[in-house]
């Protein structure tokens, strides 16, 4: 259990890296609070695994420092950092039994055999593997192997943190749900700092208190699920979180008015823009009202997704999605109004200013 501080961490896999593009991690400066449950969310290749490996000590960052409870551990080995990590692909020791696999991290640390027995049995119970404790691990199915991998991460008491790298990808949906609630329960009991990597947003939003969104080697936003939804600080977050994602359209800003084509949209405050850059307006499909009033759109397609309908349309030549309740009818000459409070203005992809006029970034 520890507070983990990442100070200006950068990492490049090749030693000759110079340009920002050579870095798998551009710059990460962040603190993981002691006992927090974090989800690390981001698309493939954005550097999630790299970041985890740096925290656990499998990789030494090219630049920057890592502190555990204020103590510099950058040069310490994985062993000395006392971190558990579960990998993306199942790793089992083929020649050992399921029991011995789970006992392995404990026995390596000279935990007394009685304690080993107790801990391993708990984990066997939790991962639903109790029936096969004596079986060789070699012949098991992929999801059983992944459960063993997961179990080896959970079996140790008193770790500084547990890092999960997409641990449930190969596990079937029902078991996935069961294991995730088990993890959540374990977190509440043990209060280990947990970082859970995934690119499935429902998984992230259900597991974590705080979601860390990564994009292209950078952390773009850290927040509660609600914050990410309501006030994304980067267009990527807007687009990545939510289904369908936020509507992003290029606009021109004139004081407290945004102009798209020949339409003017009133903003709650005039955004402060530094320099020229690319200016975009973002609004979630849930906050657009479809009716007979407002700005005209051309509807291309209506998708019925159960309790809601998604209207795909074009607005001033730009594609737009609108979520409407199931039983609302859609007028032939549909018009839209944007909820003023829900509009975000983004300059070069970063949120320029929120409704109350406070600068963010």
């Amino acid at each position: 259990m520890a507070r983990i501080t990442l100070e200006h961490i950068r990492h490049a896999y090749s030693e000759k890296a110079k340009a920002a593009g050579d870095y798998a991690l551009k710059e990460v400066h962040h603190e993981w609070e002691d006992g927090g449950a974090y989800a690390l969310l981001g698309p493939s290749g954005c550097g999630k695994t790299t970041l985890l490996n740096i925290i656990s000590g499998l990789l030494t960052p090219s630049d920057g420092r890592i502190l555990f409870d204020g103590k510099d551990v950058t040069q310490l080995s994985t062993e000395e950092r006392n971190i558990a990590q579960v990998f993306q692909f199942p790793v089992v020791y083929d020649t050992m039994t399921v029991f011995d696999n789970l006992a392995f991290p404990l026995r390596n640390r000279k935990v007394p055999e009685a304690e080993v027995e107790k801990r391993v049995n708990e984990i066997l119970e939790m991962t639903d593997l109790a029936g096969m404790a004596k079986r060789r691990a070699q012949r098991l199915t992929a999801d059983q192997k992944q459960k063993i991998s997961l179990g080896r991460g959970l079996v140790r008491a008193n770790v500084n943190a547990i890092l999960f790298d997409e641990p449930l990808t190969v596990i079937d949906p029902h078991m996935k749900w069961v294991l995730r609630s088990q993890l959540k329960r374990l977190h509440r009991q043990s209060r280990f700092t947990m970082v859970y990597v995934t690119h499935d947003q429902t998984e992230a939003l259900t597991f974590a208190d705080k979601v860390v969104v990564m994009h292209d080697g950078q952390i773009v936003q850290i927040g509660t699920p609600a914050e990410l939804f309501e006030r994304p600080s980067h267009t990527f977050v807007g687009y990545f979180i939510g289904s369908p994602g936020m509507n992003i359209m290029s606009v021109a800003i004139d004081g407290a008015t945004a102009r798209i084509g020949d339409q003017s949209i009133a903003l709650s405050a005039a955004p402060v823009l530094k320099g020229q850059g690319r200016i975009e307006l973002g609004i979630r499909p849930e906050f657009i009202k479809l009716g007979r009033e407002g700005m005209p759109i051309t509807i291309n397609k209506v998708e019925d997704i159960g309790r809601q309908k998604i209207v795909r349309a074009s607005f001033c030549g730009q594609p737009i999605s609108i979520v409407v309740p199931e039983d609302d009818d859609i007028p032939a000459d549909a018009k839209v109004t944007f909820e003023k409070q829900a509009i975000g203005i983004f300059a070069d992809s970063w949120r320029a200013m929120n409704e109350t006029g406070r600068q963010e970034g």
Partner: protein
């Protein structure tokens, strides 16, 4: 995958079968034929029954050669397998070192066997050989043509030099197939260097090791060219292995009957021992499932 049975498939293996028949089965039958007959020349043959087999199996000369050969195979397996594993474990896995090491390792395997023999024959000579001269100048009266122990040491070192690479290359192939995640997991689990070897690397090398042991056993049990070139089976009979003995008997003395009987016994021994190795090693594999 679903297996399909189709008798036409036999036609596809027919060319190979014919080839093997001509190159292996027919000569083997000829040998069987010789082994049960006697001749005094003129292409006249007499039925001899099992006489030659009895003669070979009761001759001390055969048993001595057999023991020599078994000891030789045992010694070179005991050296080459652990040494090969050790070298493979220490070979680089990334970067420019990989092709360099692979080429270096493959070099001894590319040299024709009689050339290997000649190299060591010259290398070990006391008068002009680098090794022989060097050892003698150190005060060791090394002479493989007179001292049986020196002859053995020379033949063994030569074989190790020649063939350890094969074990290295096979083990290396097994090692590079291990995903990085295994080593990372082992570090997280706090595994020692020995545990990594015992629980990750060895299990992955097991299959290729089986092949390496079989190949090295069969090859060393049939060794002929290199010791023949270096020591000619001497001094005395000290490095006369089965194959050298066989050639002496067949070509040198032209005792076709006994030589044929010996060939068959020799062949059966190799078959039997290979089968034993194979079952023992696959058995221990099966137990672990």
């Amino acid at each position: 995958m679903e297996k399909t049975w189709n008798n036409k498939a036999w036609f596809l293996v027919l060319p190979v079968l014919l080839l093997v028949a001509f190159s292996a089965v027919i000569p083997l039958m000829t040998v069987v034929n010789y082994s049960v007959q006697d001749t005094f020349g003129n292409n006249q043959f007499f039925w001899a029954g099992t006489d030659w087999f009895v003669e070979i199996l009761t001759s001390p000369r055969f048993w001595d050669a057999l023991w020599r050969n078994l000891i030789f195979s045992g010694v070179i397996l005991a050296i080459e397998v652990p040494l090969g594993i050790l070298i493979a474990l220490n070979m680089p896995k990334h970067g420019i070192g990989v092709p360099v090491c692979l080429v270096l390792m493959a070099l001894p395997l590319l040299i024709p066997w009689n050339v290997v023999g000649t190299i060591w024959q010259v290398f070990g000579r006391v008068d002009i050989g680098l090794l022989g001269y060097f050892l003698n100048s150190l005060g060791i009266s090394y002479n493989y043509t007179q001292n049986p122990a020196h002859a053995w040491a020379t033949v063994i070192v030569m074989d190790v030099w020649h063939w350890t690479s094969l074990v290295v290359l096979l083990c290396y192939a097994g090692l590079v197939s291990i995903p990085d995640a295994y080593y990372q997991a082992a570090r997280i689990d706090g595994a020692s260097r020995w545990s990594v070897f015992r629980y990750i690397q060895l299990p992955k090398m097991k299959r290729v090791l089986l092949i390496a042991v079989l190949l090295r056993f069969m090859d060393s049990f049939m060794i002929y060219t290199e010791p023949f070139v270096v020591t000619g089976g001497g001094p005395g009979n000290s490095t006369t292995f089965l194959s050298i003995d066989l050639v002496k008997m067949a070509i040198g003395q032209f005792d076709l009957g006994p030589a044929a009987a010996m060939s068959i016994i020799y062949f059966l021994i190799i078959l039997l021992l290979s089968w034993v190795f194979y079952t023992v090693m696959t058995q221990s594999d099966a137990e672990q499932k």
